[in-house]
């Protein structure tokens, strides 16, 4: 057993209102620099939708993530496991997304509103490219271009998660009474088996042993851009101005001191929780090779029970600090992912073992049957709280997104969420009957205490309950050179340390 610790973020999709506050707080802190304007380390996508960059989930196009070869070996899809292929395509990468797959960053010529000479027409602020500085004829793509179903079915119909859905299910894209969408906020998943790290020819990417955060060493990055291609989530971004790739850093300067990430902290809907997990690094390869339908269970398996005395002892032996073990025992990530089995990773079939998890959205509980009757529904009806299969969002769609197509895992989570509602409905209103509660609890495998705890974590949890982030003990040993540790104070930490004697202006 090789126990390591990992920080993990959970997202309750039921509660995400798509306000993009997370994206904006992230952008304000980390990516308001030249070359980084187009980057959204945190972004919120409307699903069904094409996503950012466009159709990032389509690995036939981008070839991100891992695959199991015919011989049963785990290999990078991008290069079919052959590292020589990396070197052969180092001068030109056929699967690299370009800026046109994201969007050309732009600003507006606001000064024209003030400086335009008197004339017959109102002056306008024309869009201007932030790359070339030229005026743009028209803005054809931008962040959240298909937000709230904008442009669907033009964009939404390209969502790779619609694969395997029946035509009548796909009507949720176009039919007014069936219309439904939800939001998926995304940051880097800080995977256990990161494809970006495995693809970097320079060895610039690495996973931190202590907290599992995946980072890019800016001084070692040589702009080969394989991380961008290999990451199936397209979360490393290439900075075109500095020639370095950058990615979500899980706000490690904040988490190291026990503060939540900027995106999680600013979340208006309080949909995010952050906690620590203990996992067995020896089993990573074994789990990553599992067949699609077993991947989520395998990932739950690799996460260890922090209350097991054997695990605690092994963790102490592995040098994991006491506050980390305590945090793992009190971890919302552990409870949601493993104890209650409510949350699941995004696209486990990419086999990177992503470490952020999502609770699938239950709302609206309006049945599709009711939607067929013109949107009318009857809360008194017997089947109001049942029939998850008749939900507006097809379970297949959620399964494609969150459990590699395994509908059972999604249904289990939805049933549990439903059981919690039934439990609380009976407790508060009392119109359902103890019998219904008992059957809901027994069929979903929850105890009344679980229902209390799930309700508390998802609805009432305070700051300290949602963010159980152990501080790291940098003081014990540190790679930070005391002579240079203040060099980047007052900056975001990206970019050259000194003004260059000779060279480019950036």
């Amino acid at each position: 057993m090789d126990i390591r610790a990992q920080l993990s973020m959970s997202f309750n999709l039921d509660k995400c209102i798509g306000c993009h506050t997370c994206s904006v707080s992230c952008k304000n802190i980390w990516t308001t620099r030249q070359g980084a304007e187009y980057m959204w380390w945190n972004n919120v996508e409307t699903k069904p939708g094409a996503g950012f960059p466009l159709t990032w989930e389509d690995q036939e196009r981008y070839r991100g993530g891992w695959e199991v070869s015919d011989g049963g070996n785990l290999r990078l899809k991008l290069i079919k496991g052959n590292k020589l292929r990396t070197l052969a395509s180092i001068f030109f990468q056929p699967n690299l997304p370009t800026i046109d797959d994201y969007y050309e960053p732009f600003t507006y010529d606001y000064q024209n509103l003030f400086n335009a000479p008197a004339g017959d027409d109102q002056p306008v602020a024309r869009p201007k490219s932030l790359i070339t500085g030229d005026f743009m004829e028209k803005i054809s793509l931008g962040p959240n271009w298909d937000d709230d179903f904008g442009g669907s079915p033009l964009y939404g119909s390209n969502d790779p998660n619609l694969k395997g859905l029946s035509e009548s299910q796909k009507e949720m894209l176009t039919k007014f009474h069936k219309l439904f969408y939800f939001y998926v906020p995304r940051i880097c998943n800080h995977c256990l088996n990161p494809a970006c790290v495995a693809a970097c020819p320079s060895g610039a990417l690495y996973k931190r042993g202590e907290d599992g955060i995946v980072l890019i060493d800016q001084d070692t990055c040589r702009a080969w851009r394989f991380c961008v291609s290999a990451c199936p989530y397209k979360k490393p971004y290439y900075n075109w101005a500095t020639g370095k790739s950058e990615k979500c850093i899980f706000c490690y300067p904040r988490t190291e001191t026990g503060q939540p990430n900027a995106c999680a902290h600013s979340c208006v809907g309080r949909i995010r929780t952050v906690g620590a997990l203990l996992y067995d690094a020896e089993r990573i390869q074994e789990i990553a090779k599992l067949p699609d339908e077993k991947l989520v269970d395998g990932m739950r398996d690799i996460v260890l029970d922090p209350f097991d005395p054997k695990v605690v002892e092994a963790a102490k032996k592995a040098g994991i600090d006491g506050n980390w073990i305590a945090a793992a025992q009190n971890s919302p990530a552990y409870n949601l992912f493993k104890k209650w089995r409510l949350s699941m990773p995004n696209h486990p079939e990419f086999r990177t073992l992503p470490m952020n998890t999502y609770i699938p959205p239950l709302s609206p509980i309006l049945h599709q049957v009711k939607a067929d009757r013109g949107g009318l529904f009857d809360p008194e009806a017997d089947d109001f709280f049942n029939d998850i299969d008749k939900m507006r969002i097809p379970v297949k769609f959620l399964a494609n997104l969150l459990s590699a197509g395994n509908e059972k895992i999604v249904i289990e989570s939805l049933k549990k969420q439903m059981a919690v509602r039934i439990y609380w409905r009976q407790k508060r209103v009392g119109d359902i009957g103890e019998k219904a509660v008992k059957s809901a609890l027994s069929s979903s495998g929850l105890t009344p205490q679980d229902c209390e705890d799930i309700y508390r974590l998802n609805s009432l949890a305070t700051y300290k309950e949602r963010f159980v982030i152990p501080e790291t003990h940098r003081e014990s040993k540190s790679t930070v050179d005391p002579r240079t540790m203040y060099e980047k104070r007052g900056t975001v930490g990206f970019g050259t340390k000194k003004k260059e004697l000779i060279g480019r202006q950036w």
């Binding site: 990396t86 370009t98 800026i99 060895g203 540190s478």
Partner: protein
């Protein structure tokens, strides 16, 4: 006299600049050590430029280096006419391949507005030097035949005389003007290494290490052994 300055003294200026400048840049400002790829901004014409250019020029350059290390092997290979023709023809075709690629790259860099946004004056200077270098190289190969032979017989001894700090300009004093331009331009090219994106070809060590390292890289900051510890997931 002028030969003496250009080929007897200047080489040291360029070589010292290259060595000192490159080490300084690596130590003081490693962040700028990047090829500054522009594929992200424009990837349509890049393919037709970058692929032929890099594969052509790398093989040609390796040929030159082999000539420096073992000139005898080149001469021995060329002793049979058929083998000489094979070497010359493959050299020339690789040169043409590189030249075509370079023309595409120059065109792309000067016309695409996005690529222009990441082009510095150093890049333009470098492209001019490269164009001269490849053009004079091709001219040498076509006008003064069997360049591979007299390269090994005249230029290589001169290179060794430079490297052994005993410059013998007479080895190349009688070479034609185009060849001299080719040689002097190569010296400028070497001198430009620390100032331009050329440093990226010195970064090849990383990718070669990649072939032998485990897939995953993990760094620990509180483990005793190493601060940078490459561990393979089991």
């Amino acid at each position: 006299m002028i030969d003496n300055i250009l080929f007897g003294h200047m080489p040291y200026l360029f070589i010292v600049t290259a060595v000192v400048g490159t080490i300084y840049r690596y130590v003081a400002n490693r962040y700028t050590w990047s090829s500054l790829s522009s594929q992200f901004l424009e990837n349509k014409s890049l393919f037709y430029g970058s692929f032929p250019w890099h594969y052509g020029i790398i093989i040609i350059l390796l040929g030159h280096i082999i000539g420096i290390i073992t000139p005898g092997s080149i001469l021995a290979w060329n002793s049979v006419p058929l083998r000489l023709y094979i070497l010359e023809i493959s050299g020339l075709s690789l040169g043409i391949l590189a030249f075509i690629g370079l023309l595409v790259l120059v065109y792309r860099r000067l016309t695409d507005s996005r690529v222009k946004a990441v082009t510095s004056s150093w890049d333009v200077l470098l492209l001019i030097v490269l164009l001269i270098q490849v053009a004079t190289g091709l001219a040498n190969a076509t006008m003064y035949r069997w360049g591979s032979n007299w390269y090994a017989a005249s230029a290589v001894p001169w290179i060794w005389s430079i490297l052994t700090l005993n410059p013998r300009v007479d080895y190349i004093a009688t070479l034609p003007l185009i060849t001299k331009v080719h040689i002097f331009n190569a010296l400028i090219f070497i001198g430009l290494i620390p100032f331009t994106r050329l440093v990226h070809f010195l970064a090849f060590i990383g990718p070669i290490k990649y072939l032998f390292r485990p897939w995953q890289v993990v760094r620990w900051y509180n483990r005793d052994t190493q601060t940078e510890n490459i561990v393979q997931y089991k």
